[in-house]
Amino acid sequence: MSTTSQPAPPRQYRKPLVRVLQVAVHLGALLPLVWLFYAIPRGALGGDPVKELIHFLGLGALRLLLLTLLVSPLARGLGFGQLIRLRRPLGLWCFAWACLHFATWLSLDLAFAWGLIGDELVKRTYILLGFSAWLILAVLALTSFPALVRRLGRRWKTLHSLIYPALLLVCVHFWWSLKSGWIEPAIYLSLALGLLWFRRRLLPWPRKLPATSKP
């Protein structure tokens, strides 16, 4: 998809196709949550679903985050700019899943024991990383309204580059949260690094001088 030879669908189909994909995004993000209402009472998440629920929601949020970041390379690669309209719903759904992940931990795991929650948030580095990522996602979600996007102009872009550190924070949060094993978080981290690689020219990290860049 990094090549530009992939043709986008014919012009007249693009708009309806994006509509269909938007609906698919909403359903794809919503239906698993509806499924939980069916599955939990039937034991699909085990005798005690709390930990599994936290994992399910955290992993879902991470996947949605990766999908969100896949949109623009895909749009560029396919020459199908309208795809960009999937980005905001994906990003907002990612935030919604992250909120549920956070809320499950607060309510079902720690039972709103605020003293303990405060302690854990600062003492456990992996929780702090997840929380930082969540704060970033919250800021991005709140500044994603079209009116605000217009108002912020250039600064919006800078602000929303925070998504990249958020992605890396989540990957480390995942890795660190495990009692054992590393293969699964390593896969997600490589996917994340892959998505960052697509953007290596756009990111504000130190770059070589123009002399060495290709025309």
Partner: protein, 338 residues
């Protein structure tokens, strides 16, 4: 729950009264056909709350058959509430069958537990093997209702059936050199997907090994368990024979044991090998020593309620068994020997 209401209010810690009403009633119920693993809690489904747990059926593979056991009934310490059987058998850590809590119930039903021999060797005068089927038929089994505290900060109350490990070990006549006991789980990658693939098995070096100091092994609370909830163990809980040490974190309770060796030196233990800074050899339940990634001061009790019925309670030193076992560790720095 029925079992709870029959025993609630009876005081006394781990006292055993032979052939009391409780036992007879329970046998009677089992005789009525309530003996299947799930039916006993069927009355729970009456709560219409969608978040309340109705009995989760063990998925398609078909549950491994379990047999009712004859045993001396144990007592529920007053104030304790039993964890429903379908929760205790559908929320397990048994990485040989996968790292998710639901994996063991799903993936272990085909485990072949008959015949099963357990080897006892090392510093004993009479090494030997025991056929577990025979042991179940011949030993005087007793029920022990214990708090179970997982290192992951959740807990249950589980009625185990088994025999004191100490009494069992005495049959083999431990020598004076025996200072430690090493346990080993079955190693059979064909049957245990986690042993075939490190991805499934969480990167543990199998076979799973555990160990106790001799005085811990000989302590009357330490149980060699052959059953739960009145029946033989289901595979996900460690069939056919496992260890229960109620004052230690759950991972010390090694499952599906094939070998016990009495040793002069402290044996290696699996979680300690994997992450020595997180899991010690002793692993005594200690609310004052946190896991690096979470607090051990409190725990989420997994009881009869639904998903929203969260019960977080303080964790007790030695999981509430300090009166019986604290003396084993007199003079030891339990922060260092965690």
């Amino acid at each position: 729950m029925l079992i709870k209401s029959l025993t609630r209010g009876e005081a006394g810690e781990n006292q055993v009264t032979p052939e009391d009403v409780y036992l007879n009633r329970r046998r009677f119920l089992q005789g009525l056909g309530a003996g299947t693993a799930l039916a006993a809690t069927g009355s729970q489904a009456g709560l219409l709350d969608f978040l309340s747990p109705s009995a989760p059926q063990t998925p398609a593979t078909g549950a491994a058959p379990r047999a009712p056991l004859r045993y001396q009934a144990g007592k529920l310490e007053s104030g304790l509430i039993l964890t429903p059987e379908e929760k205790a058998t559908n929320h397990n850590n048994y990485y040989e069958f996968g790292t998710d809590k639901t994996d063991p119930a799903r993936n272990s039903q085909g485990l072949k537990t008959e015949p099963w021999t357990l080897r006892v060797e090392g510093e004993v005068a009479k090494p030997g093997t025991v056929d577990i089927g025979e042991l179940i038929g011949s030993a005087a089994l007793e029920e022990r209702i214990y708090r179970m505290r997982c290192v992951e900060a959740w807990s249950m109350v589980i009625p185990w059936v088994g025999l004191e490990l100490g009494k069992f070990l005495k049959r083999f006549e431990p020598t004076s050199k025996a200072r430690y006991v090493a346990f080993e789980t079955l190693y059979d990658p064909e049957q245990m997907p986690g042993q075939r693939s490190s991805f499934v098995g969480g990167g543990i070096d199998y076979p799973y090994v555990e160990g106790l100091r001799m005085d811990e092994a000989m302590h009357p609370l330490t149980l060699l368990s052959l059953g739960i909830y009145g029946q033989t163990l289901p595979p996900q809980n460690g069939a056919p024979v496992r260890l229960v040490v109620p004052w230690k974190y759950g991972f010390k309770g090694i499952k599906s044991i094939v070998s016990i060796r009495l040793l002069e030196k402290m044996p290696p233990t699996s979680w300690n090998l994997l992450a020595p800074q997180e899991y010690g050899f002793y692993a005594n339940v200690n609310p004052e020593v946190d896991h690096p990634r979470w607090s051990q001061a409190s725990e989420r009790f997994i009881g009869p309620g639904g998903l929203l019925d969260v019960k977080r309670q303080p964790t007790l030193a030695f999981n509430g068994y300090g009166e019986q076992v604290a003396s084993l560790y007199a003079g030891m720095n339990l922060r260092k020997f965690f």
